[in-house]
Subunit: 317 residues, 4 copies
């Protein structure tokens, strides 16, 4: 199977089953209505199927306003055959307490959901269902599906997004039960390296930087590369290199597109001083907020400076 | 209930049930044999009970060589009533496939464990039990306990540490089945602020740094405070502030003890330029590796420089 | 002879003879009317006589808005027995073309002055006295004195400050003949280390920094010490160390007084990383312009940060 | 008059009269034997005549191991029509006490030389001719010429280089009388912008950097541009801008040639953030010492990084 889409719809993977926040993210893509959405059992599986050419791309969570970076995604992108991010989507994280029609609050003795979701509603549960038991599920959507299924299950409610309740004919007994208001998860679309999205003026670039062991200065030296070209970071996370605690690489999102002069020069600078720079793509920001570029470092400043330098060099015999 | 230990053993909480890696960490503490080990249902619950005075301290995972920082712990320490870290423990993460005596590999159709553990043995499972189903459990130890219990369960094996198998009379069908060799988790001991451990020459200090919104320079400015005093970082992670994606605080481990001159001056510098510096304690390193201190920045250099400055200032009328 | 001023006026040296810009600087000192002004043949001689106790202090030029740092002064302060700067004075540099009464412009065939002064009026001379010859003098004031003296001299005019013309009964044929408008020279008062002037809120501190040969980072490392404490520099000059071209020390003026917390901590930081820090004093600015202190780094911020640190440390057993 | 050398020898100016250290520098140039050496009355005059096309180039002192930067040269290059430096020469500064044949030490009652030379032999004079008077001269060579001339002069000895004594038939009564051993002056050859010397692997580049008034960070920001590309500075001097004390530009020599990748990128970076970058040329080092280039920043590293970047950008639609 190849990545050619001739004669068929593009296939986009997501963390299934249907009804997950990841599916919600997929449905917000412009191409949502003209693609085949393919549920996958894990982030790793989705990325593997993109690498293998079975999928054209995959939607994966990369960062959560509550939990921070999503390890499975960050690590899945950082090793293995190269993948490029070609888009991002923001999804508000809003949980409902879903049950079969007719269920009353006082009927609920056990609740099922993914352990991450449970962590985010624990406060509400303590106040509203203090005696309910938690039963871990493979995913929020799986909990909803199981509850709606024909088989008998030992729980009476599921914590899931509204979309999962809708899909399975469940009704919300309570809405917006997350302990943190305004939680948002950021998803990215990962594909095999192909054409990069064009610059829009409101772009992000994602890279993984691995330091050399023998480099003094460390992170300060890396940040000077950004500072010398006026680049803003929007996310930075040290990641263990898996060899040992204390040895790190850095996963970084920066404002701008690889086609921007200042971004290109910064990436070259990082490439020179790092053991490895893994480029994970340049793509439009979900929030469409244009980059704040210091006039010292916009493309016009680069073009002008290069013309000046070329003039100086033209004099060399 | 108070934190007084008069007439009773100190009570130390951990993520239960018995048989977790966290219990293994607790058992490695010097005070393990003279304390009461109290299992808790979650990291949050353990920290809350320490804050409430029901426990004297709690052992919690803070960093994993595979997954990176443990969000629940980092965030649980970063907000709420202050807690101080008073020790750290490293535990090798080694999983066994445990079953009731007499079980054979070919009998296994389903396996239960915590979803984090499952993520770390997925490769081994794909090779050795490709058709087995995964059933999520509240914890690795809970999976082992349930398997050993009287009730019938729909799985024939649990992925757990050896200690959990031992405790519940299970036998290992396979050992060391993690996909990443040499995985290690770092645990810390959190207590209500009291006496800090004395400096040993091989210490760490943990802080959470919140930037001011209006500060240009950002992380570079913070790192200059460390660089100006020759301080090495052993971990740095940006953490979302929970207000919005893109607004961060930094969780940092640095080499040295708050009693060290260079650490004290650095903390004061950070305190001046940050919106908030949350001090989470100074404590002996688990690996006992002495800090590598540039002679420019050791205590003797500070004492000498201060004596010199005092001499200059003594001349002011 | 000692430095005791008991029973006699303080003796302040200056670059003589009477009528120099340096004498003008001395006359602007608050103590001008209650001191004995002692002309000296050179900056070196003036500093040597202060060191020897023959003078209480000396007024010397340190920086010129046209020429930059005054080497003789910078180097005279950087080596030898320590001296401290206790004040500064700014003097506008304004030259007159002085002659004996009755002289007309067309009578002038040769002009005498110090070679430095000649360099600053060369444009005016080329336009107004293009055929006049230049005869170098020991000082501007000496040229005026010689012209006014009884002995016949081979020149008809002197370039000097108005004060020198006045003293010697000469008249100005032209005023303000310098090629650079608004030229100013900055003078300092050097004394043996004694009581430092009290902080006024508008102070400068002068230091000479010698780097270690084996230090990577060099000047950047020094500047980070200033930046980490929010210190502004008002002058920095690399100075050859006299051992070889390419080996430098740095002569620096910074805003603030050694009694200021941020200045004290910066000096200690420099002392730790430099081969030598030579403190040349803290003294009120001539222009009385208060230091612009970032609130992050004012004394209150230091006091608050130290109180916080002391609170943390109080917990160490 | 044009700069064409067709049918005539190139004309190279120097600070005259014959017998100066500057003439010594000129005689060390490779082209010394095939040029016309033209004495000029001042550095300004020499540079003006190059700008006017009357001279092909001029040899001027730029830095002295005792005195530091030579203001007249630094400022003469920093303003006015552009000039480029095309070479440098190092000359040991060694003074003799020269007199007419037959003169004995005890005959000397007055000594003439330039005031700068006098400053450098004052120690020797104090020990060996403590009663001799100093008579300032237009230059060391002029003092020698006058002493050798037919007219009677009121001094019996001149302080000058050996070359000046030789030229005028004077004999050295004492050699190497400078107070600082191993003093060296660095001279540069300034020409109208034309062909730059080719890179030799042991080059210097000289620039003048003017900061923007509204830039925070100041010198630290400039130095980060050098640090991010691994550029070593061999000289840096703040220079007053002539507008006011406290407003500076920086005169900088750096290792490398404008054709070097790292130098070109650094110059572009400076150009973007500075109010003005005045390029004063790239030229072979007099000492032929190859630049110490960190392998991270050599041309091969740039070529490799650019190829990598081009590969990334090739994917943009």
């Amino acid at each position: 199977m190849t990545s050619s889409t001739a004669g068929r719809l593009p296939r986009i993977g997501y963390l299934g089953p249907p009804g997950t926040f990841t599916e919600m993210a997929l449905l917000r893509l412009p191409e949502a209505e003209t693609c085949e959405a393919v549920p996958c059992p894990s982030v790793d599986a989705a990325l593997a199927r993109v690498r293998a050419g079975e999928l054209d791309s995959a939607v994966v969570a990369i960062e959560n306003s509550v939990e921070g970076g999503v390890s499975a995604t960050l690590d899945g992108l950082a090793v293995g055959a190269p993948l490029h991010l070609v888009g991002e989507v923001l999804v508000p994280i809003r949980f409902v307490l879903a049950a079969r029609p007719g269920t009353r609050m006082e009927d609920i003795r056990a609740v099922s959901t993914h352990s991450h979701a449970w962590a985010q509603v624990r406060g509400w549960m303590a106040r509203n269902l203090p005696t309910a038991t938690f039963l871990p599920a493979l995913s929020n959507a799986a909990a909803a599906a199981d509850l709606a299924g024909e088989t008998d299950v030992p729980f009476q409610a599921a914590v899931c997004p509204q979309i999962a309740a809708d899909r399975h004919g469940l009704v919300p007994l309570a809405d917006d039960i997350g302990d943190i208001p305004d939680a948002v998860t950021r998803f990215v679309v990962a594909a095999r390296p192909g054409r990069l999205p064009l610059p829009t003026g409101a772009d992000k670039t994602t890279v993984v930087l691995s330091q050399r062991d023998d480099r003094p200065g460390g992170l300060l030296g890396l940040l000077e590369q950004f500072a010398a070209r006026g680049i803003n970071l929007t996310r930075i996370e040290s990641r263990p290199t898996k060899h040992s605690l204390g040895s790190y690489s850095f996963s970084v999102d920066l404002e701008g597109h690889v086609e921007d002069e200042r971004v290109g020069e910064t990436l070259m600078g990082l490439r020179r001083i790092c053991a490895e720079v893994r480029f994970l793509g340049s793509y439009p920001r979900a929030d469409r907020r244009p980059a704040e570029i210091d006039p010292d470092h916009d493309d016009a400043a680069y073009v002008s400076a290069r013309a000046w330098l070329d003039g100086l060099r033209a004099r060399t015999a």
